[in-house]
Amino acid sequence: MTTLPSQDEITAEIVDVEADARAKVEAGGSPELHPRRDYAPYRSSVLRHPTHELVRVDPEEIERFSPAFGHTDVNPLESDLTIAHSAEPIGERITVSGHVVDGDGRPVRNQLIEMWQANSAGRYVHKRDQHPAPLDPNFTGVGRAITGENGEYSFQTIKPGPYPWRNHINAWRPAHIHFSLFGNAFTQRLITQMYFPADPLFALDPIYQSIADPAARQRLIGQYDHNLSVPEFSLGYRWDIVLTGPKSTWMESEEAHD
């Protein structure tokens, strides 16, 4: 068994990668919008990133289309994670809402959005999660929805807790919700995580920090939005999601529809 690195070692590596990314921007490069695939502070990436350059490809017909999901796939009740069981889950009730759009700001409508999360104690309903925090019999932590006409979505849930993991000694993930999205083309597929404002664990977390550009990674932080808070019921967070695209052929067929 190898011994785990300390937080200070991991933090020093995080700092070095960020400095490297900043130097590249100062030298005229573009900011890194996505995480590095080879990001040593996140130890699991070391043996799991490709070492060859990705082969750049013009999307063909299959890649320009996306599987279609609809109201036959998802029950509207699946966007409320607090009503899946006989009683209320324990935790701080929150509403998470936003819009899913493509790179031109156009709504991604009628597409599947999935989310999953730990409970308020930081425990997943997953047999390999051995974090000795309590399971909540009234919380599974899985939600699904179909985006609306303006790309909008909304989930009712409880705020997830931070949880420990074994990347290094005293590694804790900041509280987060996992999101999975489909766009209008399969190339727009995205899996990501939403975080909560002002989490003290941000600087220490190699998954959040795998996005070396500070402005880019802040796009993963949901904004507290008082207008979304439901009086005497829940606190509101707004989080908008921008997918890649659009692809040219899709634009044409979209215009043909209008």
């Binding site: 996140y42 990501t192 802040q218």
Partner: protein, 221 residues
Amino acid sequence: MTDVNRTIAEQAEEFDTIAPPELDQSQIGSARQGDGIQTPSQTVGPFFGYALPYEKGWELVPGHHPQAIRFHGTVYDGDGAVVPDAIIEIWQADSEGVLSTQLGSLEPDGYTFTGFGRTSVNLAGHFSFTTVKPGAVAAGAAPYILVTIFARGLTHHLFTRAYFPPASDAESAAHEGDRVLPAVPTERRATLISVADGPASYRFDIRMQGVGETVFLDFDD
């Protein structure tokens, strides 16, 4: 570069005090949407197993379908060890080369072909779909299944294509005329072509890194 004598808190202050950007309430939901800058990817993590897989996600057609094939493989890491916690999605045309616009992927009814499938690998890193061999989407085109790989340790998913071994001169010509296969160095091309390993069975192993590393694709926007 890094002063190791600084406390974590001091380093944190420099790097990510970074309160999220202050946004005018009226801007929320418009400024961010309109700027066209992509939301970054994050790893799927290890704990998706109770959330993403769904019943019969691996079964695009029932096993008794006359054209059913097994499309399967094992995922390996850079040490050649199996990856026991990946999740694989496929997207493909039907046996006639037609793309489906049918809803209902999450609730397969055993009749409608939606072209989408999703399954986790097992503890031996193995995945298996029951589907049909896709037809050519255009005359002379080489058919393939689009494969997406998510896993703990993958900060961003990987895309690849699984072509089929040519069984005729016409199919060989389709491979030669493909836009991607001939552009890939010869010694790596085989990683994009599944192997017929039994009656109506095609194996497509995925090597994330190292010897025999699968060719992964990045699509131009």
